[in-house]
Subunit: 223 residues, 2 copies
């Protein structure tokens, strides 16, 4: 497995905030459009007109763009710019996005809303979306405890359906065994009932361990 590259971007806190406001606003508008495009019942002629307008706007934005994916970069002040991340990415309209909080001692959690775009069985959160969210929250708990890593295994136990709407997720380090960090977590519905239980094993790749030893430091977060 080749090393993963993190660019370091020289930007001030004010520049970072302005960037997040600008592109966060754009992503929010696309999220609202995605939700409306799924639920709309306007006449077909209007749908066709709107589709054409959307195509024009997409072409306008794509007129100048990065070649591949957004990647993950670090600002000189240490903020992680994982804007393309499918769960937490500020600039990614597919992401709800989650704002994950951390205890500083191996615990991570978030409150969020999963609407019509995250449906599996009628009116319920897609089981795979529960897995998507929990993978990220468990990984952040591992990183928060000083044991970042790539997901090795992830096991999900679905104990009840999760209705669409308000949700919560939390994860905590259960134990560390050498290069493996075992993390547990859960998804909760709007009433606080646990609906999905998760256990993940996060493993620090060899190249990252070697880089840590060389630089006598901890590696950057993976997210």
């Amino acid at each position: 497995m080749p090393p993963i590259r993190y660019d370091v971007v020289d930007m001030s806190e004010a520049e970072l905030e302005a960037e997040q406001q600008l592109y966060g606003g754009l992503a929010d508008s696309v999220r609202a459009l995605a939700d409306a495009s799924l639920r709309t019942t306007v006449p077909g002629a209007v749908v066709e007109e709107v589709t054409e307008e959307i195509e024009k706007l997409a072409a306008r934005l794509a007129g100048d763009q990065i070649e591949d994916s957004f990647g993950v970069s670090l600002t000189t002040s240490g903020t992680v710019r994982a804007y393309g991340n499918t769960v937490v990415g500020l600039r990614n309209p597919v992401a709800p996005p989650l704002r994950i909080q951390r205890s500083g001692a191996g615990r991570a959690w978030a409150e969020f809303r999963l609407g019509a775009l995250y449906e599996g069985p009628p009116g319920m959160v897609h089981g795979g979306v529960a897995a998507l969210v929990l993978d990220q929250v468990l990984g952040e708990a591992a990183a928060d405890g000083g044991s970042p890593g790539m997901t090795g295994t992830l096991t999900l136990r679905y104990v009840a359906n999760t209705p669409l709407g308000a949700c919560g997720a939390a994860a905590w380090i259960d134990r560390v065994e050498g290069v493996k960090t075992i993390v547990k977590g859960e998804l909760r519905d709007g009433e606080g009932t646990t609906t999905v239980e998760a256990e993940g094993i996060f493993i620090l790749p060899r190249w990252a361990r070697e880089a840590m030893v060389e630089r006598e430091e901890r590696p950057p977060r993976f997210e």
Copy 2:
């Protein structure tokens, strides 16, 4: 767990095709916009202008819409309309969407592309996205074998990173044990290498089993 409700919609094949073309086109345009919004490097003033235009289009579509989520309905000819599904939903811009094929004997597979919107580690598919996709493909394999069910447990083993780009997924029924169907599957990268292995246990809920006995028939697919 309350029964899940499926509406039956009376529509011809021609109406279904027209509907899929209209709304599929809309969703495709929003997918392109989402990708462009993540990767764009146009000037900030243009981003602000485009954001305003998108907000107007979203409001236009939302002017008349269904109240909650899309749900899952069946047409009188037996086609499943799961347009809001996060993995396969034709009308859901969050969905890649996957077009899953079935053998008729407990096997399901799909070839698809995961671009910048599905990123976790830089240049790589998010581990949770792999889980999201596999949950759906495994569930469809269970249903294809005549043993539909809700996900009970899902276990994922990440054996290598999956680069963004062309991907494949496949799943097959390993064995059936009473109301439990055990399904195995895998995600593959563009070169056909297995990157994630999955095992899922799908369980037919009690209300569906009772409905089957009452109606002397097999329950509808869950997706």
